[in-house]
């Protein structure tokens, strides 16, 4: 143990963390924009800053950080191949999610967000804010902060940084959830619910970290791995600590029994924010989970593997079965995301290279499909607000053939039909478990895939074989949504037909540093 008196300044490899710095820098610029620019100009400037920030970060990631991998900042940040791959994924998906958030249709304000987040719904304050033309352009810097948190989350090298990153990514999300323009009460309630439960789960994470520190005297993942391998007798607080940390992460991915917030929050949040959460948070949380279990807790696998396996099974079953009875498209997609979390857990349980690359590929594939799906959900409307009830989607195949065809294709992607990315992803992920003693997990996964396929095909049947209900309209999107949906659908196809380049990239990236 080092003496507490000496303190060495940590060396930071700025070249390795420059993508994160760019994002946080852009977010700070956004805050300044919000403070100093007149309202009318904020929207365009904020959108510009955000998109440029995301692109610049991605470029620095590819050009600079990729060549400067390593453990840095006193082992608190690890920029290795999986971290880069996951950070890149977060950046790309965020780019398209921001395009969705920026959608204005024919008005002057981002359509999904309230003009006055701080006011009580229906109050004079709100009316006044609307009259004055207030906007909620702070969603853009908030998103950037969250993205920065996610990038740190997947690259964190010790438990403390991981916890801070967790909070940095979560806090903006709580606010974003509460900013819906329509059904504001529902949105604010979802926000509060998410915040309370999130705080609850964070407490578990922190308490778990304390127990682990108590048992091993370290929080750094590499040292933790060594300590776990040699520790004897302190299992009585080490293992519970590990499980409590896992709870904090499992909450974020929406695994059973920590999933109950998912449908409420997905439904209440503004649809573009739901798209953002459903994709990037999953990437970040699974990235962190993989790092924790693959790097730090490798030696304890006999303890956590059975528990995670049971949770995976429960998650798959609950997600798939509950999806069957949903009548709201956003809740249905929420349960679908829960079942996908269950599938993804298989890759964590597998604890091998294929599991790691398969999970990373799955996250990319699922992310693109989900972004496009939520982009489309925002377009189907009834008397000004989103028509999320499934009955309102009846007959869309006749009234809006292009939209219905695209959504059907995305649903087939979720269901994992060959020639879509969903099939490739499931194949790559499940293959990691086959023959590694977890074949029974694949059996459950395969059965549940069949159940969810029924759910998705039911939507297609509803769109094509039912009479239109009348008051449902499809809004013509601006190029912003158009680009995001097209990119999502295109990637769903490309990753189904020619997934080899990305699979190879995932395989080459499937090696953690300590």
């Amino acid at each position: 143990m080092t003496s507490p008196a000496t303190f060495t300044q940590a060396h930071i490899s700025y070249a390795a963390v420059v993508p994160m710095l760019v994002i946080f820098g852009a977010a700070l610029v956004g805050v300044l924009v919000e403070a100093f620019l007149p309202r009318a100009q904020r929207y365009l400037v904020q959108l510009g800053v955000t998109l440029i920030g995301l692109v610049a970060s991605f470029l620095t990631l590819v050009l600079i950080a990729r060549n400067n991998r390593g453990v840095t900042a006193a082992s608190a940040v690890v920029i290795d191949a999986p971290a880069l791959m996951l950070q890149g994924t977060v950046l790309v998906l965020s780019f398209f999610a921001v395009l969705l958030m920026a959608e204005r249709f024919d008005t002057k304000y981002p359509d999904a967000f309230t003009q006055s987040g701080a006011s009580v719904p229906g109050s004079p304050t709100e009316t006044n804010a609307v009259r004055l033309g207030a906007t909620t352009t702070e969603v853009f810097p908030l998103t950037l902060f969250s993205v920065g948190g996610m990038m740190l989350f997947v690259a964190s090298g010790d438990l403390l940084i991981m916890f801070i990153a967790l909070e940095v990514l979560s806090l903006p999300l709580y606010i974003l959830t509460g900013l819906a323009r329509r059904r504001r009460l529902l949105s604010q309630e979802a926000s509060l619910k998410y915040f309370l439960l999130g705080a609850f789960s964070s407490a578990f994470f922190l308490f778990g970290s304390a127990l682990v520190y108590g048992a091993t005297k370290t929080i750094q993942f590499g040292a933790l791995a060594d300590a776990v391998a040699s520790t004897n007798g302190r299992d009585d607080i080490l293992i519970p600590g590990v499980f409590l940390i896992a709870v904090g992460l499992l909450f974020k991915v929406g695994a059973v029994p920590f999933q109950s917030w998912t449908p409420d929050v997905y439904q209440g949040a503004p649809t573009p924010v739901t798209g953002f959460m459903a994709t990037t948070v999953k990437v970040a949380a699974f990235g962190a989970m993989l790092r924790l279990f693959y790097v730090a807790l490798d030696g304890l696998q006999w303890n956590w593997q059975p528990v995670l396996a049971v949770i995976a099974v429960l998650t798959m079953i609950v997600g798939s079965v509950f999806a069957v009875t949903q009548t709201d498209i956003k809740r249905l997609l929420a349960y679908s995301s829960i079942s996908h979390a269950g599938f993804l857990l298989i890759g964590v349980v597998a604890l091998n290279k294929t599991g790691l690359s398969g999970t990373m590929f799955y996250l990319v594939a699922y992310g693109f499909t989900t972004i496009a799906a939520f982009g489309i959900v925002a377009l189907v409307r009834s008397s000004g607000s989103e028509a999320t009830h499934l009955s309102q989607w009846a007959g869309l195949g006749r009234t809006s053939p292009v939209l219905a065809a695209t959504f059907s294709f995305l649903m087939l992607g979720f269901a994992g039909i060959p020639l879509t990315s969903g099939f490739t992803a499931k194949f790559a992920l499940f293959s990691s478990a086959v023959g590694h003693g977890a074949t029974w997990l694949v059996v459950v996964a395969v059965l549940m895939s069949a159940v969810t396929a029924f759910v998705y095909v039911r939507i297609i049947v509803l769109m094509y074989f039912s009479e239109p209900t009348g008051d449902t309209q499809v809004v013509m999107p601006s190029p912003l949504t158009g680009i995001a949906v097209t990119a999502g659908a295109l990637m769903t196809l490309v990753l189904g037909v020619a997934p080899a380049p990305l699979l190879n990239l995932a395989q080459h990236s499937a090696l953690f540093m300590r």
Binding site: P121, R182, R183, R184, L185, L186, E189, L192, K193, L197, I239, P240, F243, V247, V256, P257, F258, S260, D264, N303, V307, K353, T354, S357, G358, S382, S383, G384, S385, H389, L390, S391, Q392, A394, I417, P418, L419, T424, F427, A428, F430, S431, S432, V434, G435, V442, V443, V446, A450, A453, F454, V457, V461, Y464, F465, T469, D471, A498, L503, N504
Partner: protein
């Protein structure tokens, strides 16, 4: 297996060319309205030429050396489990290639005449090209996954073509019905793949075939049954058969190509391609036999009662595919004969459908056979070519159907116990019924008195239509003779479907042949008396209960209604109901509406955070508790 060399190494062109044609025609716009159809026909023939060259190449090699594998690209390289996209060029797939491209190209030539005045013919030919490409992918695929891609592709093409004239709501409904029942079959296919994946972690034919040995009976049975469900959906077998009759809503060339000669036989292909699995699981084969026997009997009975010429032919298709499925279910003794009958049936049934199209062409698109009669005098070419197809299907000695169907009946009688008697007798009796209903169709249309409506002036069709009919008629007549008694087809397929010992039917081969011929003559004679010698009433008689049931397709729609349609309707209705009741109907002021639903939802959800966090806590306790218990 050898890597593809020579012509076979460009085998992918067979799929790419028609696919290119479909893309060019669909994207080309109005500029291609004139030239497009010719391009489509040309590309289809090009695929045939490549297929023919490949077969010639295969013939030049030793029997065991013929199967070739053409690696296309590495599709899903997932660590230890790789899935490659590749083509399997062997005796079975090339047999199908020749059938699909030859019959398909002929039918496209025919369509040039048949669809001449259709304003949308460019789209029609694009879909036909899409179909040919998908069907070729289906039969050439080297794995179940790639096969499934083609499987979905032909389903899509079939859906688009059944509903081609979708301005008619009944036609659009027919397309939807086909779509829906095919999805049931697809679920079977997906489940089969899932089970294979977890059992063996493999989905390519070579890998699966190698892994079958040593697998539990239960697993194999489950896979076999799922594959059977898939085959039932695509091949219109019991209990998923009801879409085929309605699918006749599509243009007649489509009925000939997709719903008679090729796509509907994909189920038979699937079973024969999976022969290693079915050979290893006797119970799965028994299920296949039962399905085949039920369908061939049901199809024959329905065929006796239909007055719509195309629907009668559709019932006959169902019944004939029932024969093929039965043969495939018999195992190694029947696989080759199933394919043999499939090929000859492809010729004579396509020929008859084209003949039916020619009749409709001359009769103002009427299909009611009670208003036909005596057409032999005015449509001589159609009469003769249709007649050859007719004689072939009833098994007239020497013609194609005689050689192929007789083999299936004979194989069905091989075995011990009750099975040969049940399956054999069903196949035998249905052959007699086939003779009856086909004679009925033929006599009502071409023979007897003229019962035409007053406004029709029947005339022979143009040469673009009759020449394909003549070629197919020649095939109907002689293909069986060329391939059957010479053992060409059985020897050709043996390396794929496996050799088998000569079985002995429970009734001797020659007595059996004699009984078949006698039954056929009885069937024709009864039809002759009822529909040629006697006058055919213009309004259908009430008929026996069996006839009535057969007219209603033996209640298959009622069954579907109860099993599939009604629950679906209820679901949709309850969704609409729920919407009206629970969520605001909209229109009553946005703010009020939003506030209202939020408040209501809020009330519904109030206090949930408490129970949510309780669930979380219980989860934590359960995890830790479980760990302590295990400790």
């Amino acid at each position: 297996m050898h890597d593809a060399t020579g012509v076979a190494s460009v085998g992918w062109l067979m799929i790419a060319l028609p696919l290119l044609g479909a893309a060019v025609l669909l994207l080309g716009g109005k500029a291609l309205d004139k030239a497009g159809p010719y391009l489509a026909v040309l590309l289809s023939w090009a695929a045939f030429v490549i297929g023919l060259l490949i077969v010639l190449q295969l013939r030049g090699r030793g029997a065991e050396e013929r199967a070739m594998h053409l690696h296309l690209y590495s599709w899903i390289p997932a660590g230890s489990l790789n899935l490659d996209a590749g083509l399997l060029i062997d005796q079975l797939s090339t047999t199908f290639v020749l059938l699909i491209t030859f019959v398909g190209s002929l039918i496209m030539v025919y369509s040039l005449g048949y669809m001449e005045h259709d304003p949308d013919k460019r789209r029609f030919f694009a879909y036909l090209n899409l179909f040919v490409a998908s069907m070729l992918l289906l039969v050439l695929a080297d794995s179940y996954v790639l096969l499934f891609v083609g499987w979905e592709g032909v389903g899509l093409a079939s859906y688009l073509l059944i509903g081609f004239w979708n301005w008619n709501p009944a036609y659009a409904t027919a397309a939807n019905k086909a779509f829906f029942l095919n999805r049931v079959g697809d679920m079977g296919m997906l489940l089969a793949m899932f089970i294979m994946f977890w059992a063996w972690g493999k989905l390519d034919f070579a890998g699966v075939n190698a892994a079958v040995a040593g697998t539990g009976k239960g697993t194999l049975l489950a896979i076999g049954l799922c594959l059977l469900v898939a085959a039932c959906g695509k091949s219109a077998q019991f209990p998923l058969q009801s879409w085929l009759g309605d699918a006749m809503a599509g243009p007649t060339p489509v009925s000939a190509l997709i719903h008679a000669a090729t796509m509907v036989t994909a189920g038979v292909y699937l079973i024969v391609r999976s022969n290693v699995i079915f050979t290893a699981s006797e119970n799965a084969r028994l299920a296949v036999c039962i399905v085949g026997a039920i369908t061939l009997a049901a199809g024959a009975i329905i065929g006796c009662a239909k007055d719509d010429m195309k629907k009668a032919l559709a019932a006959s298709t169902m019944s004939q595919i029932g024969y093929m499925v039965l043969a495939a279910g018999l195992g190694p003794v029947g696989y080759a004969f199933a394919i043999f009958h499939l090929v000859t049936h492809g010729f004579f049934k396509a020929g008859m459908f084209l003949g039916a199209g020619s009749v409709m062409h001359g009769m103002n698109d009427q299909v009611d056979m009670r208003r036909f009669g005596g057409l032999s005098t005015v449509m001589k070419i159609t009469w003769v070519t249709f007649g050859l197809g007719f004689l072939a299907i009833i098994g007239f000695p020497g013609l194609s159907g005689f050689w192929s169907k007789d083999k299936i009946i004979e194989s069905a009688f091989i075995g011990e116990g009750w099975k040969p008697w049940v399956f054999g007798l069903t196949a035998l009796l249905a052959a007699g019924v086939t003779a009856f209903y086909m004679s009925r169709l033929f006599f009502m249309t071409f023979m007897g008195k003229r019962r035409w409506t007053e406004d029709v002036h029947p005339h022979e069709s143009p040469l673009t239509m009759t020449i394909p009919m003549m070629i197919l008629a020649v095939g109907s007549a002689f293909l069986g003779l060329i391939l059957g008694p010479t053992n060409i087809i059985t020897d050709w397929l043996e390396p794929v479907v496996g050799a088998h010992e000569e079985g002995h039917p429970v009734i001797g081969q020659y007595p059996l042949m004699a009984i078949t011929v006698v039954l056929m003559i009885i069937g024709v004679a009864i039809a002759w008396k009822m529909y040629w010698r006697d006058d055919v009433p213009i309004t259908p008689p009430v008929g026996s209960p069996l006839t009535q049931a057969a007219r209603r397709d033996l209640g298959q729609d009622d069954l579907n209604e109860a099993v599939f349609a009604r629950p679906g309707l209820h679901l949709t209705r309850s969704l609409v109901f729920f919407d009206n009741k629970v969520v605001d109907g909209g229109g009553n002021g946005m703010a009020a509406g939003i506030g209202g639903s939020s408040a209501r939802l809020k009330k519904m959800q109030n206090g949930y955070v408490r129970s949510y966090s309780l669930t979380m806590l219980l989860g934590v306790v359960a995890i830790l508790g479980a760990w302590w218990v295990v400790q």
